[in-house]
Subunit: 358 residues, 2 copies
Amino acid sequence: MSESVLYTHDALSAFCRAVILSMGCSSADAQQAADVLLSADLRGVDSHGLARLSGYYRLFEKGRINPMPQMKIIHESPSTATLDADAALGLVSAPHAMRIAMKKAKQCGSGWVAVQNSNHFGIAGYHAMMALEQDMIGFALTNASPLVAPTYSKERLLGTNPISMAVPAGEHMPFVADLATTTAANGKLEILQRKKQPMPIGWAQDAFGENTDNPFAVKEGGALLPLGGHKGFCLGGMVDILSGVLSGANFGPWVPPFVSFLEPAANPVGKGLGHFVGAWRIDAFQPADHFKKQMDQWISRFKLSKAIDGKKVMIPGEPEFLLAEQRVKSGIPLHPQVVEDLQQLAKGLKIEFPTAIV
Amino acid sequence: MSESVLYTHDALSAFCRAVILSMGCSSADAQQAADVLLSADLRGVDSHGLARLSGYYRLFEKGRINPMPQMKIIHESPSTATLDADAALGLVSAPHAMRIAMKKAKQCGSGWVAVQNSNHFGIAGYHAMMALEQDMIGFALTNASPLVAPTYSKERLLGTNPISMAVPAGEHMPFVADLATTTAANGKLEILQRKKQPMPIGWAQDAFGENTDNPFAVKEGGALLPLGGHKGFCLGGMVDILSGVLSGANFGPWVPPFVSFLEPAANPVGKGLGHFVGAWRIDAFQPADHFKKQMDQWISRFKLSKAIDGKKVMIPGEPEFLLAEQRVKSGIPLHPQVVEDLQQLAKGLKIEFPTAIV
């Protein structure tokens, strides 16, 4: 981080909104998309924040993102819906789907929305966490560009397909799980590529399906590996089926690539990329106050458990909350390469790029 | 397997029913429990089948399993319910909960039942697979006796907390994921203990939280490790929160141990052990026929992907289905230690133990 430059949250958010507005999005959608992206930067998931903004812009330029989508529910039951996102930014369609899910959960205890015809939705945790204020447990999944080989396959058939679940507590910060179903994220390989360091065995395989410590393996025809082997294939497959097959989106190797220089499959099996979001209303199971007290006890017991010497037990979501608190105050660090990329984007769009905190 | 002895499915099922009837269970409950246990033996999940029968019986003798439970819904919404299982066998309460969930899914698209005051529910996949005949996606979770250390903790605070999801297909066998959220199951350690072989690093830690290859590590104060590190803690935590906290059961280190010689915690935080089961009705999202065709395409594409030399890509649930087909025909192998244990149980109950297939 020592080489990174700090910017205030508000300055970056305003910049992000301006870029998204320039695509022709409504100001409400620009605000929503900026909120999702900035929440990633605040929480330290830097690979899913502003670092991706120019990527979204290039997808828009290619006509793959529709800035003025007419999203509509194409199938529905009291607790479920299928949403056609009309090629919206996933940053916009996923929160929209989540609001539908929460409305259904209010009415009948739980709500589930499968989204088709969408694009990359950013950080999964944002969408799951939307449920917290309403005393619901939030759930968010998405499929993604194929980079991961199933067990014993040489082919890239799955995305990093994250799972996120957010659970409110009382006194404590909420429990927020947000995990790719791979051993390592592609971003971690990129760090090793820059440092020219070997990659731990188990992160990726080469083009022959062999173990490798070459951090360029995925770029050279290899594949990321599922979390913990076959179990990760099971989890990634679950995510792909709910997000892709159940929604009517593309699935498996047909999921459209995030990078604009790769074309989507010529023979799609569905529409765009898919998400699956939902919420359980806590007081559809028990009084919410009692639940939150029990969650406090769960969290306390785990936090205060005997730690390995020199280590600290952290609850899922805890490091991200602490970092977000700090970054709101002291600023968000951007890597010089990200700054350069955004400055170039700003120049092309004639938008002013914010000045760094000195 | 060479030393194992073969028995017919029907003979073992009849024996199992007789043992459970001898606890005072109804014949319907005995049939249900036997079905769950035998499905594990058929599917090759031998650790969750008849090998556990005497363990359930000892819990019954200790008064921890109620053979004539009055299960009741204590909280409800159109798509959710909380079930007090009245200390039933989990083999009985989980299918009961699943039937409630499916009834709710019929009415409003999805159904979710959190179960408190229950016991070990056997193989998670059985419960999830109940949804298949009704063209629903089934989901089953349970918490379990604490054996797993969260990241950086020296304490055993979580169970192996499995996740199962079953998805119907058309021509193909269904997709059935069923995975413990640990790197390895305790049963795998027991195999290495018998063979006096070292354990792979990453399966368990010792009492100090250090890496170890000692397969006795868990018995000597160590702990099993979550699947793939911190991500497995996130997943195991999610399962514990939905199964334990949301249901009003015990959670974390308070979950009652499966073995009858260990007493439940003196200061329980809830009632018994907890499950969380549910179902999404497929045609609450899209026509079921179209979905099943798409699932066939998903399965074909993954099965026929380029395999690593000498290997075969298998869909989650596929090896278990193939094994079950074979074992229905040729018999179920039981390990001699399991046979001896069951013969002793049979003797005490004056029930005849079946003769092996010659």
